[in-house]
Every structure is written in structure tokens, then in C-alpha cells.
Symmetry: C2
């Protein structure tokens, strides 16, 4: 293991000089610098990052706290982060979070520059207390897909996205629009689903449409769960003509359920997702696109700035634009239902509709 002392000896200089060369200090003569660089070359010397970190009080590492398993979109965001960090000299340490315990554990140990020089917290609502501790510890933090008082963040306007999606369905003529989303009190406190639901509810209300009880269903962020929930919706007498799922993963579950029930998408039921993860293009899912990759890249860039700048970054919230991506899972609702009746006598008759299965054999 060749150390700085070896290089110094080989070049006939002091260790301090070698260090200065390594750190591009201007206070080294050209001839000395050349000798040192030659010695480094010959000995194939590489500074020990641990020693350097100990000495300088920083460790050339950025931590990314991320619910890696929970959301498909996290991976795409992470890709953006990796892309941004590639050019930097920082290593990326991954802290996976699957439970509040997990989260608090990591956040507690990460309040120190010797663990990570900066922190990117992704999709994870962070307790204000933790955020405050981080702030006072001087470790720069950037939030991605979540917000916090006085901390820079890169976010999506989920409420607006929810509106966008719902408006699209209403514009197509749907009136019976159901929603499948995240539990508002899910363990990690993800809020995106709830915000999207809010956008949905607002838009429905604005249009003067009632959301029947049971039209909004919640469950863990998993395809299979969404599928099960959709089955409930499809079994209703006032079956929705459109389902807005709060994420693409869930929308895929909805698609499965609808098709398994022998119904046609979008002939009988329109389906909307949210995120535009890679699969969605393949599945032909109409969805609200949010720039996942770019959001990761941007957030990582902000963090790099903050870390290098030494001064606290401006705590602005950067909101990335969203857009509707219309593919092939949405269309006008099936024609001619005795809707006026349904509306008038909400819970009345037993009008079974046996012809429902015409979509596919």
C-alpha cells in the first residue's frame, strides 16, 4: 500500500507538498509539481479516501434515501440521479427504506458529514424533526418528490396531475369515474396518491358530478391489490365507465381486472394511470407523464451545487411540468345507458345488465 509518504520520499519532497499537488494548490513550483506527479505515476499512488475524508471532514459521498422496492417510479428517478452523479467525483450510497423504523434509523445516522456530504431524500415524507436535525447538522439535503419546510425540493404537482387526468376522462364524456389510490395513512406516509385523489375529487365536484360511496378505493401500491380493488368496482351495479389509478403500476392492475372480467378497454371501461413509467408505453396506457428521470437528474444537480457551494442552497421548490399522454386505454364511455334513471333513483331497482359481457368472448 503506497502512501503519501512514499511518494514524498520518492520525489524527494515533504508530504505536505505532495498533498498540495494533489489538491491543486497554486503554492507549488512547476518543477516540484512535475517531480511529484512523476513519482505518483511511477508508484501508481492513489490517495486513501478514508484518510482524506477524516482529515477534511467530508467523504466525497452522497446518500440517497429511497424506498427502493415500493415504487416502480423510484428506479427511474434513481437513474436520473446516477446520471447526474456520474460526472461528479461523488460516490453514491444507497439507503433503502421500507419502514418508518428504517427511515428514522438512516436519517439519524446521516446527520453527519462523515457519513455523507449530502443527502437526497426521495419520495419519502420526512418528519420535520428529522429535517431540522439535518439542517442544524449542516448536511445539505435535497428532497425529491416530497416537500419540507425550508428545504429545496423537486416535486410534481400531483393535485394538478389528478385534475388533468380527471378532466381528460370527463372531456371524453365519462361521468362515472372511479379512483384507485394509496391509503392516506400508509406506513411511510406517501402523499402523492392522496394529492392525485384530491385533484380527482376537485374536478369531479367542479363538474357537478357526485362520487358515489365506494368509488374511491385505497390499498398498498401494488398491481395485485389494484386488481382486486377493481374487481369490487366492476361488480357494482353502477359500474364505473372509467377508472383513474393513482399510478401506472396500479393502472396495470386495473387493466388486468377489467380484461379478466371480459370487458373491453377502452370500449367498456377507460383506464388512466399516472407516472408514465417505461412499461406504460408498451401497455398503451393513457397516463399523466411526469419527468421521472429528469427529476432525479435535477435534484442530484441541486445537491451537488449545495455540497460544493458550502453555503445552504436556496430552499426553492422546483416544480416540473406534467403532461397528459393519451394512448389507447381511454375513449368515450359506451353509449346509451339509462343514465338519467340511475342518477335519479340512486339505489332503487335491481336492473341487472346481462349484456355487459359483449366486449370479448
Amino acid at each position: 500500500m503506497v502512501t503519501i509518504a512514499d511518494v514524498a520520499a520518492h520525489a524527494g519532497v515533504g508530504a505536505g507538498t505532495v498533498s498540495r499537488v494533489l489538491n491543486h494548490s497554486p503554492r507549488v513550483s512547476d518543477t516540484t509539481r512535475a517531480r511529484v506527479l512523476a513519482a505518483i505515476e511511477v508508484l501508481d499512488y492513489r490517495p486513501n479516501p478514508l484518510a482524506r475524508g477524516l482529515s477534511r471532514g467530508r467523504c466525497q459521498t452522497l446518500g440517497v434515501v429511497v424506498p427502493f422496492f415500493t415504487h416502480a417510479s423510484a428506479v427511474e428517478r434513481l437513474r436520473g440521479v446516477v446520471a447526474a452523479l456520474d460526472a461528479s467525483h461523488y460516490d453514491l450510497v444507497l439507503f433503502n427504506v421500507e419502514s418508518p423504523l428504517h427511515r428514522d434509523e438512516h436519517l439519524a445516522t446521516l446527520t453527519r458529514r462523515d457519513r455523507a456530504d449530502g443527502l437526497l431524500i426521495m419520495s419519502l415524507p420526512t418528519p420535520p424533526a428529522s429535517l431540522a436535525r439535518l439542517a442544524s447538522s449542516g448536511v445539505p439535503v435535497v428532497l425529491l418528490d416530497t416537500r419540507g419546510e425550508g428545504v429545496p425540493a423537486v416535486v410534481t404537482d400531483d393535485v394538478e396531475g389528478g385534475r388533468l387526468a380527471t378532466r381528460h376522462l370527463l372531456a371524453l364524456g365519462h361521468e362515472r369515474v372511479a379512483f384507485i389510490g394509496d391509503d392516506p395513512d400508509n406506513p411511510l406516509g406517501f402523499t402523492a396518491g392522496t394529492s392525485r385523489e384530491q385533484g380527482y375529487r376537485e374536478t369531479m365536484a367542479e363538474a357537478g358530478l357526485r362520487v358515489p360511496a365506494g368509488y374511491v378505493l385505497h390499498g398498498p401500491h401494488v398491481r395485485a391489490v389494484a386488481r382486486r380493488l377493481t374487481e369490487q368496482l366492476l361488480a357494482r351495479r353502477d359500474r364505473p365507465t372509467a377508472v383513474f389509478a393513482s399510478s401506472d403500476s396500479q393502472a396495470l392492475g386495473v387493466l388486468e381486472a377489467v380484461r379478466a372480467a371480459g370487458l373491453d378497454v377502452p370500449g367498456d371501461v377507460s383506464v388512466m394511470g399516472f407516472d408514465d413509467v417505461e412499461v406504460s408505453g408498451y401497455a398503451g396506457l393513457t397516463t399523466v407523464r411526469q419527468p421521472l428521470f429528469e427529476s432525479g437528474k435535477l435534484a442530484a444537480g441541486l445537491l451537488l451545487d449545495a455540497v460544493d457551494a458550502e453555503h445552504p442552497p436556496d430552499a426553492r421548490t422546483h416544480q416540473l411540468s406534467i403532461e397528459l399522454v393519451e394512448r389507447s386505454t381511454t375513449a368515450p364511455p359506451p353509449p346509451a345507458r339509462p343514465r338519467s334513471r340511475t342518477r335519479a333513483s340512486a339505489a332503487g331497482r335491481t336492473d341487472r345488465r346481462p349484456a355487459e359481457q359483449e366486449g370479448k368472448p
Copy 2:
């Protein structure tokens, strides 16, 4: 920043004693231990990992070298790795690799315990020279989805997988089976595609089936490319009745192309993938399942053993079982083609088959 000296002072002991307590040395009396632990508690002391690492020559970090962007399967494997590491006290550092330069750069700096205590190299054929350097440097290495002389590895039998897939298609009655895979001389030297191709070729040969020129196409591991290549296949006079793609991503591209051409899957063309990534279940893709998550978990487990054991791990190659997952993209070939003729006079006539488009309107 509270240091070990603060704790020692607070507990009225020497720094060495605190260190012994921290490291669970038995040579500390119970009363002293209690005092020290109390002081740690009161001061909320956390050892500086950098200092500890510098002192002990290790850093409680495992490096994962992975072509993060290139393969969808890498993410699933990474999930397995993360899961295995969750229980350990090691941090995970991600080294993304997208080019040979990238790879060599990382591999060169990682030959030291101060960078990572162990290395997991994923899907990345590693130059023997790099492997040798790593071995002599004493950093334990485990390979995942790639092999190397004298290094433990977790692999899939890709050749056998290729056979499995091809046999499945032949068993269904297909004779015109095409293959879409990776370029054998792709920049990073991925070999999985080539091995799968080998399995395909062997099986075809065993069955006495000729692989016409142009029936095997190569291109980057991307859906869009596979789609384009498939268009070539579909335009042929001797259009294949089945396409085996060397990965699910590529198979999805094949599916797109076939459907875009107005053909039915599996009515006109059967499609097989490889990997069984999460999407495939949704897409109903028949594929060869390899346990991606488990492979990551196993490899990470081996690495943890090796790192903790201090002795070089037995360099065994662990081969995980593969299995065929039959879904809805494979079926017997369309009936009644004048096949005997085709076989006999390979390049002869101009027999156009205008009835080809019967699959869908």
C-alpha cells in the same frame, strides 16, 4: 461533534476502554461497560465511520458495479442485493458502468479496502487482468451473472435457457424459428445473449432444422431496436412462425412489431422472451424465468460471508435453476403452409402468400 474522548472523559475512563466497549471486547468489567454505555447514551455518541475505517483498514462498505441503465434485469437483481445487505452493517455504494472506460476506471480504484470491503460485479464480463488485480489486492469479489477464473460467481445457465426456449417452440410444432439477440461484440462484452443464441442454434441443429441466413439478428439491448429487427423478419418471404428474443425487453419490441404488422400473437407468430422481469407477467409473455431477485440476494450473501470470513471464499460457481414460464405469446404455428416445398427449393419460387394477413383486420 462528540468524539470518543468526550465519552471517555464523561465516563471517567480511557479512550481505549470506550473503544473496547464499542467493539464488544470481553476485556471490560461489567461496571465499566455500564458506565461507558451510559455516557454514550447521554452524549448521543456515534463513532465516526471514517476514523474507524482508517484505523481498521476497512470501511463497512460494499461496492456494486453494475450496468444500471443497460438492462432491466439489473434492477431486479439489485433489489435482491439490497435486500440481503439490509440486515448487514454494510453500506452499499453503487458504481454505474456504461462503457468499458467507466468499467476500468472503477475497477482500478476499487482494488483497495479503503474504497469498499467487497465487490459485487454484476453482468459485467471482467477482464482477467482486472480480476487478478482485485484478487491480489485482497478485496473479496463475487460475480453475478458473469464468470471469472477462480472467482465465486452466481450465474444462470444461459445456454440451457436458450435450449429450453427453443425446445418449447419446436415442441409446439414450429420449424421457422428466428432469434433476436445481442451483438456478440457489444462494447461491454455481455455474453448472456450469445449464450442464449448458442442454446438456440444447438437445439435447432439437433432437430435437423436449418437456420436461414438472416434469421438471427443482433442489435443493442433495447426494445425499439428489437422492434426494428423484427420488421425485417416479418418482411421475409419465409417469415418465421416464432421469434425467440434473448431478453424480455427485446421480446416486448418483437411483440410490438408483430402486432403493428397486423399479425396475431400467438396465432401467426409466437414470441418467447428470457428473464421474466416484472412486466412480462403483465404482458403475458412466455419466457424463461431466471430468479433475478434471488440471484442478487445469494450473491450478496456470498460476498458478506467472504468479507466477514477474512479468508478467500471458495470460488465455486453457483448456478440457479431456470424454468419455462408459459403464458400467452406462444402456440402452435399457423396450420397448412406448403412447407415441404419451401424446404426443398429453398430460394426458388416467388410464392407470395397474400392470405398472410388473416390474423386481424
